[in-house]
Point group: C2
Chain length 309, copies 2
């Protein structure tokens, strides 16, 4: 496999100040796999669903060459469910309901055909579950990326630190970087995190863009200011999927390729926000993606080879 992803495959109820939709197909691994499918074709998915899950989404994924042998389907059980309400700023949200269902006792099984992936994306899940996926690999991938959230910092910090020590890239938001290190300055926070295991840190700032840190190097990618933000759900996962899909496509983890992967991830995330759930991610093609990437390049173009006094 070029890319293996573990994460939730789920239903979401989403409320924003401008609209709402119920039982939208979502989950971190869904967004990651859909976004990555535009860049690489050998994708394996490790997750669990109930027998209530959308057959058409499973067909959609398989149609995009996402291998589902790692997706467990529990007969008579229900898929993971999340309900949330966004604030007026569309950058913060409250969780209204979480029903773990099949996720409660999820024991990930990595099929033999997935055990030597070039790239591995550990989507947001309990750190112990993420670690179980790492344990089942035969060979070390070129890059292992880990996404997590404040919930695990509050409830499972030691397991989180343990799994963090085994990965190459950590992806969290700015508040989580501050919580994880007790440092207000993201520069200081990054320095501490890069001593905890990961060689690369991606700080996601939602509508304010993303920062990449490696050693003493920094790169900043803006978010695209959008005409309409319909639903930011899954934008962070879509960002990760675009980034990992692009890296799997290039087969490189050089700093310049990581920068470009983050621009690609930002472009994919900007599409994600333009419709509810995964809808927009199903309608893209390379032409539309190239056009959006060109807008990102233009957005920060200073039109100055040398800007000096």
């Amino acid at each position: 496999m070029d890319l293996v992803t573990v994460g939730t495959v789920a239903f979401d109820n989403i409320e924003t100040p401008f609209g709402s939709q119920d039982k939208v197909v979502g989950g971190a691994a869904t967004y990651i796999s859909l976004a990555a499918s535009y860049f690489t074709k050998k994708i394996g998915l490790v997750s669990v669903i109930g027998d209530d899950f959308s057959k058409s989404m499973l067909n959609e994924l398989e149609g995009r060459s996402v291998d589902l042998r790692g997706l467990q389907i529990k007969e008579g059980e229900k898929s993971f469910f999340w309900a949330g309400r966004y604030h007026f700023d569309m950058n913060t949200r409250d969780t209204l309901d979480t029903q773990l269902n099949v996720l409660a006792d999820f024991d990930p099984i990595v099929p033999p055909s997935y055990q030597n992936p070039s790239f591995l994306m550990l989507g947001n899940l309990a750190p112990a579950v993420q670690a179980k996926v790492l344990d089942q690999l035969e060979s070390r991938p070129e890059l292992v990326a880990l996404d997590t959230m404040n919930f695990w910092m509050d409830s499972a910090m030691s397991e989180l630190k343990e799994v963090m020590s085994r990965v190459d890239l950590l992806s969290i938001n700015d508040e989580e970087a501050r919580q994880l290190t007790g440092e207000h300055s993201l520069v200081r926070a990054a320095r501490k995190i890069l001593k905890m295991g990961p060689k690369y840190l991606v700080v996601k700032k939602g509508e304010h863009g993303a920062l990449l840190f490696q050693d003493d190097r920094m790169f900043f990618a803006p978010a695209m200011p959008l005409e309409d933000i319909v639903d930011p759900t899954g934008a962070g996962d879509t960002f990760a999927g675009g980034m990992m899909g692009y890296l799997a496509r290039t087969g490189s983890v050089s700093f310049p390729d990581l920068k470009r992967a983050i621009i690609v991830g930002s472009a994919m995330a900007s599409f994600c926000c333009e419709a509810f759930g995964t809808q927009k991610l199903l309608e893209l093609d390379h032409g539309k993606i190239n056009e959006r990437i060109a807008q990102f390049v233009d957005l920060v173009d200073m039109e100055a080879e040398v800007l000096e006094l």
Copy 2:
């Protein structure tokens, strides 16, 4: 004059989670003039102070060729005073005290030598006072920039809209752009604001950078992630001062020059945050400024002439 500035010249008491200082010399016009003085030498300042104000800061400004004929000194009265406390995020703050003092009945007098400025910066003040400065000009400057804040949107919206209709560039933060237009999307907010008078809109987002809008064009400048943010007071004014100083230096208001002016403003603002009050702005030189500007260029450099799938 190349650049005339109106705004406060004042004392601040500043508290941050990491330290505090009392009676720090500040005020919008102080920060603007100091920042601009690195780029252009014929600067006029319109403001008012009491006889309690710092003589050494007045000498400092005059030593930088800032003309003070427009600065009224009221004997027996006290200078404007503001006290504020920053939250842990260093991006938001509470006002603890405001003593208008000499500002209560400030009637700006624009000296004859200031009445034909190439560039005019209307720093944050009551819109009616900003309008009085415009009324006293003999000729239209190449560019008039207006800074304002939510306080005037709440208390003097009609005067604000009136003065807005007479300027070329509006500088506000993202929440204020949303408040002014009732639009969540900054793209939509910008479109509305560009119909209210200004040809250019600069949306300041503090630690998240700045956006420039003109017609359908957008440019994004990041903020520099800093090792230590000591005090963000005056960063917005320093940004404006760097931007206007750079424009006055080039004498141009082309879109590429506006972009570069915003990078220069962002660089100056990043210095401002590294010490309390104006301290850091007194210690710079072109070498240090060029080095910081180069870091900004590097921060968003995608190392890709063409990034295409």
